[in-house]
Amino acid sequence: MEHAAAAQHAVESGSRLQDLAWAILVLPLVMAFSTAVLTPRNRMLSAALNTSGVVVSFLLSFTLFCVFGGQAVDATPFHWLPVAGLDANIGLHLDALSTLMLLVVTGVASLVMIYSTGYMHDDRSYSRFFSTLSLFVFSMLGIVLADNLLMLFVFWELVGVSSYLLIGFWYEKPSAGDASKKAFLTNRIGDFGFMLGILVVWSLAGTLDIAALKDKLVANPALLGPWAGLAGLLIFMGAMGKSAQFPLHVWLPDAMEGPTPVSALIHAATMVAAGVYMLCRVFFLYTAAPGWPAALGFLDGVSAASIITCIGGFTALFAAVVAVQQDDIKRILAYSTLSQLGLMVMAVGLGARTGDPSASMYHLVTHAGFKAMLFLGAGSVIHACHHEQDIWKMGGLRTKMPRTFWTFLIGTAALAGLPPLSGFYSKDEILAVALEANPIFFGVGVLVTVLTTFYMSRLVLVAFFGRARGEGAGHAHESPASMTVPLLVLAVPSVAIAWLPIGGFLSHHFQPGHAAHGGDILFGPFNHNPIAAFFGLGAAIFGFSLAYSLYGKAPASDPLSPRLGLLSQAMRNRFYIDEIYDGIVVPLHNLLSQVADAIDRWLIAGLAVRGLAGAVEIAGRALRLVQTGSIQTYAFLLTAGVLLIVLLALK
């Protein structure tokens, strides 16, 4: 197998182990390219090639993790755009943050690839799916390993286009086409802000390299002067686009049009997390001295980080509320991802005050694990019920699909934040940070936990308990091994991550001096920050009991919607934000282009050009009238001409 040889060669060279990072990055691209060009017809080979490519990357990442484990190292850079004054080159940076993220991305990607061999088995363009997925993994790894802002932007856009290709995978479906277009354009609005942010930072700091930027900011916190706040916000705009924060969140729910493995990998674990990862990567921008240009004077007191916190908090709350009244299983999970991302962004914002955003990264890692499992579980349910996605047509799947049920239950418990599972510890850290930084957002966190537990329990109770409501669910049966094995494998981290000192490992990265709170991991939260832990646990239990009271008896239809009446209608229609966008933003653009087209057609092309041509034609015809054809006029004009000449010459 040639990729094994590649790995062997890298180690033998022994020159610089971290150049292995290049192998990790390039391997998926090579696989994607070879599948697309060489073996589009051969289904099995293309699946095998791509899956093995990602798995080898995972193994290499694991070796790097063991060898370096958090120590900051740089692979030899490649000079991409060597222009004087613009040091834009592609370099790979390995440190605690990126090695951990490497593991998450390649790990989840391998499992999703294996899962997809089963899920996409009867799909026509099988190998195209795998090559696009590998392309996505390549772009994602590019973001994780990027060591300068321009390279980050480059792979930012490549991730955007891979998600466009994957969402629009079933291009015959008009809804898939529109969803992919919407996703790409919303991301592009985010990227617009991101590019401007990079330009501001580059013009003031003179360098694009993140490490150099960090040293300069540490040396001279007021380096960015009044532009610090704006630069921070603009770069955050990039994160808003990618991690679907309000108001650029509209594309994520529609992105469910793509195949479920895509939703699992991209819209649960990796891509949406890129925004949070990027915020952590350029975290030093937000701890620098805040400042606003004259034009934005009214923001002087407020720091960029607090704005980020508000947006994160609001997104979390908003998404959780909407999720309560959704019926489509993938939409519920999509909104839950939205709300969890809101939490992470809030954690980063709050972390700015305490100087340690590791809580959000920790939650990101755990969330990637159980949310990917939940999506794959949902996929297996949909696969079993013959592509039925409405939970009110399912029921009683507990007995028919035991393995999917149990893994789904574990995932739900982890998401809700019950103690032995990983979700509890990471969410607890966020609540602890919130409590310490700003109690209001602690309240938001608790409320979000309640709502999360409520809608997840609603989903589990309706879908897995009671009697089968639809005929699809009636004769559902357990999915094949290739789909359930990844579920089981993913269940392990949801439980076991809590036992690994990831929290400490991360906070050491951000505050090397700070003593990692060692001691017993399992009961750590209870004795470090009892209030946060108990509140978190209480909220989870309260949410579950509320859901049980409503949905315990497996009702035929949703008892909550008549009670909430109008509010439920609003929640089902996602508070009409899409309608607002379609109502305002799109027609505005169309109006502008209509005006421009009208100007172009009438004013410039019509008036200026045809007018001119017409004037010339009229002048020609008028002047031509002099040629009356009669000799008399000619003779007369000739004499007049002579007189004119004499006058003109002698005057």
Partner: protein
Amino acid sequence: MIPGLHHYLIVSALLFSLGLLGVVARRNLFVVYMGLELMLNAANLALVAFSRFHNNLNGQVMVFFIITVAAAEVAVGLALLVALYRKRQTAHVEDLTTLKL
């Protein structure tokens, strides 16, 4: 008083403008043609006057050139006008406006 050079010049200028008037104002082609000849003769008169007053005979030699050329012109011109008359039975200037604009 003996007519000086400028008298002759005035007469020739008058003759010239008369001829020009004939060409411009008259309708009949033959009369226009006569006007033309008149203008040429005005030039002859001026030449003769100049050569007389500068007693330099070149002027008068020049007159001979002009007369012979005028004669050739008349011959060809009249032949042309006759051909035109035979074709259109008219010598009126107004009828000759097919080529215009």
